[in-house]
């Protein structure tokens, strides 16, 4: 029950209260670039959610067993090579950024191959967006958040996956809302110098203002779950 409460809090936090796009500003490139039409925006949101979950699973595994200070695998290798060494001395966290970017790039590649093989129509509708997800900062951001909590030893696999999946859901919510607003904006008379990116930014600001209202929900759910 306690785990469930924790997961619920993490889910609400990632999807609404601390929305990836509107509070942390990660994943802005697709948020501005692919939010012109509702259906492509939704497709992009789903693709990001999927990749973020796969990448989170892989990076949690890497962090837990290889990268964190005192991780089992490198320490086992080191102590079998050098029996005189003290246990738990090896710390590979210097390598974490390089490993994460590698993990993200390869999971995007894997997802692309899988989707192309088994869901050709879906692959066609994603088009060029799939490979572009590699440089989406939302995914690296999720990996870094997971790393922070795994190193502090307070998150397991369930919490990490919840953060990743609901972070992706939050991204989808934000980009779909934005696409809906931009479709309406096409019909509006916008001052000439504000057209394009500038008005999109201002709309995003108002959207972020609306999302700040969710911070009350997070606090109330917390009170409800831990009276």
């Amino acid at each position: 029950m306690e785990l469930f409460a924790d997961l619920l809090l993490i889910a609400i936090g990632a999807a609404l209260v601390n929305n990836f796009v509107l509070t942390y500003f990660v994943g802005l490139c697709p948020f501005l670039g692919v939010s012109r039409r509702l259906d492509t925006a939704f497709g992009m949101g789903c693709a990001v959610t999927f990749v973020i979950s796969v990448a989170a699973l892989l990076s949690w595994t890497m962090t837990e067993f290889v990268l964190r200070p005192g991780a089992p695998l490198p320490n086992w290798v080191w102590s079998s090579l050098n029996p005189a060494a003290e246990a738990g001395q090896v710390d590979l966290s210097v390598l974490s950024y390089i490993v994460y970017i590698f993990v993200i790039a390869s999971s995007v590649q894997l997802v692309e191959m899988y989707v192309r093989k088994f869901f050709p129509p879906l692959y066609k509708s994603f088009g060029v967006f799939l490979p572009l997800i590699t440089t989406n900062c939302a995914i690296l951001f999720a990996c870094l958040e997971i790393m922070k909590h795994v190193v502090a030893r307070d998150w397991g696999l369930a919490e990490s996956l919840t953060l990743a999946i609901f972070g992706g859901v939050g991204f989808t919510i934000a980009i779909v809302l934005m696409a809906g607003i931009r479709e309406e904006l096409e019909l509006c008379e916008v001052p000439e110098s504000l057209r394009g990116a500038a008005i999109t930014m201002i709309v995003a600001g108002i959207l972020a203002l609306a999302f700040m209202g969710f911070s009350g929900i997070g606090a109330n759910v917390e009170k409800l779950l831990n009276p």
Binding site: T23, L32, I98, N136, F141, L144, S193, A198, M201, A204
Partner: protein
């Protein structure tokens, strides 16, 4: 050579205003919005990004003949990730509070599209001199962009600039400007201002051309 290659000086000047990474190309928006609540973190961010950009541009331009087309993006990202690790560790060692404040945004330099685009556009095609000039020019452009956003946000939101109190403390401040929505609003208005200035200049140039003809 059939195609005209920009000289180092052109690369340098282009990076500052004509091809300003933030205002003209809309690249590197994530740090532009995230760390500009005040001048100090913004300038630290510019320093870290400039270090990574200059080093990565130099290295990719030195190894540009070895790059295979289908693997080049991976090579760029791994080069960048290496330098970001160096910058992150250095910041954590010598400026721990600032490193804590910037949090995940230092490692997120890896996926800053601005750096990858400079590797792709300039340094994988031209020699180290042009690559260095380009990196410095783009870094200055990035500095200008972040400084402008941070100036607006810190003065309106906190009444200070670089931590120096400008507006008397009894004046009310717009707290909104140092919160996330303020970042979007400030950058949106500045983008609009930049476009407006550009359009006005263009109109003036065409007017004077029409007048002389």
């Amino acid at each position: 050579m059939a195609v005209h290659e920009p000289t180092p000086l052109e690369r340098f000047l282009n990076g500052i205003l004509p091809e300003n990474p933030v205002y003209r190309q809309l690249l590197g928006l994530c740090p532009t919005l995230a760390v500009t609540a005040a001048m100090k973190p913004a300038m630290t961010m510019v320093g870290a990004t400039a270090f990574v950009l200059i080093c990565a541009n130099l290295i990719t331009s030195l190894i540009r003949h070895l790059l295979k087309p289908h693997l080049r993006i991976l090579v760029f990202t791994l080069t960048i990730a290496t330098f970001v690790t160096i910058a992150d560790r250095t910041l954590a060692a010598f400026a721990y509070p600032m490193s804590k404040l910037l949090g995940p945004y230092v490692p997120l330099i890896i996926v800053n599209c601005m750096i990858i685009s400079r590797c792709e556009v300039c340094s994988s095609k031209q020699g180290p001199k042009a690559a260095l000039a380009d990196a410095i020019g783009v870094s200055l452009g990035f500095l200008l962009a972040l400084a402008s956003v941070a100036t607006v946000r810190e003065i309106l939101g906190n009444g200070s600039w670089f931590g120096i109190q400008l507006v008397p403390e009894s004046f009310p401040t717009l707290i909104l400007m140092i919160l996330p929505p303020g970042a979007f609003l400030a950058l949106g208005s500045l983008l609009g201002l930049a476009t407006w200035l550009g359009q006005r200049r263009k109109a003036r140039v065409s007017e004077s051309e029409a007048g002389s003809a």
